[in-house]
Symmetry: C2
Subunit: 201 residues, 2 copies
């Protein structure tokens, strides 16, 4: 069984790369599927689960979401534990898979996953955001840069909860792919060939 | 014309990867060739040139090598300028090539080189040092770790002379390859395929 994990900067195209690679390789693909499973197990709304997991209280300055910090802290800790459980269940299926985000690279360390980090320069990420924006969405450079910083910062903090190696630092990955000015579809087949060759398939 | 630059942690196998990749792709290969050319142009001993360029005075606490700091500073500045000139001359030949180290990625920015960074975990680098050591060489872990830190630290400092992006930081590279526990020969063909595909050959 091969497990490929993809960590990525917001708007770098990492999620698309992961999804396309799963299609090319015929691997299982897990991303929002993890959120849905947690939500189902906990009887919670998936958006609520996602929101809490992207900004877990343990990694943040207190955010209340209308409740007291201690309640949110308990919920987010519980959801992080549940997320770890769901990710381990996916690995325990024993099937080839690609998992995007959620610190699966650290959680599944014992399976020796192939760990990819996807990143890009600021201009490329802004272009990507603009090309994918819904009508009426704020696509000012100022807003997009702020959003990128916020999301990546939350990812950094969440990674710090489970690992000593900071998010995005090379030592934590087997391959780091810069997608700046590259077409993700083309790049995906190239990365897929790399991973397939390294995993000796 | 394609230019591939390889920056690498000491003992990560980056130089071997570069040499093997040049052989696979039929590209020119430049590493110590640059030192020899500078030495020839300046009428200096190649070992002396290499020593100065690996520890340029401008990036170091004064090192005298038996001369005054100001003299060494002038020599090392002159050699850095000469190195830049030689690297630009290589690019101006207009032939596909691979250049290892020496900040060629920054110096040749205008040619849009494909920039690779090669790294590995400490254990793998120690094993690599031991496997390549000459008889009688100090191969104690303590010594090797000290040596790795010293050489990489000098590379960091030398990079700081020419770029705002620190040595080894992902933003400065197109691809970062972790060679830990990998066979360099096998990995080289895989990386070569990646680069060839990205460069659209």
């Amino acid at each position: 069984m091969n497990i490929i994990t993809i960590s990525r900067e917001f708007a770098s195209g990492g999620r698309e790369l992961g999804k396309r690679m799963a299609d090319i390789l015929g691997y299982g693909y897990y991303d929002s599927e993890i959120i849905l499973k947690i939500a189902e197990n906990q009887g919670m709304d998936p958006n609520y689960v996602e929101n809490i997991l992207e900004h877990p209280a343990a990694a943040q300055i207190p955010l209340t979401y209308g409740r007291s910090f201690s309640v949110i802290h308990a919920i987010s800790t519980n959801l992080l534990v549940e997320q770890t459980k769901v990710i381990k269940e996916i690995a325990a299926l024993g099937k080839n898979c690609i998992i995007v985000g959620r610190n699966a690279d650290v959680i599944l360390e014992e399976y020796n996953p192939f760990r990819i980090f996807v990143y890009a320069d600021c201009d490329s990420k802004i272009k990507r955001c603009i090309s994918r924006a819904h009508e009426g969405e704020d696509i000012s450079e100022k807003y997009l840069i702020k959003k990128m910083k916020q999301i990546d910062s939350a990812r950094k903090k969440t990674k710090n909860l489970v690992s000593d190696i900071p998010w995005g630092q090379k030592e934590a990955y087997d391959l780091m792919v810069n997608t700046s000015n590259r077409d993700i579809k083309t790049l995906t087949s190239i990365v897929a060939s790399y991973v397939t060759a390294v995993l000796g398939e």
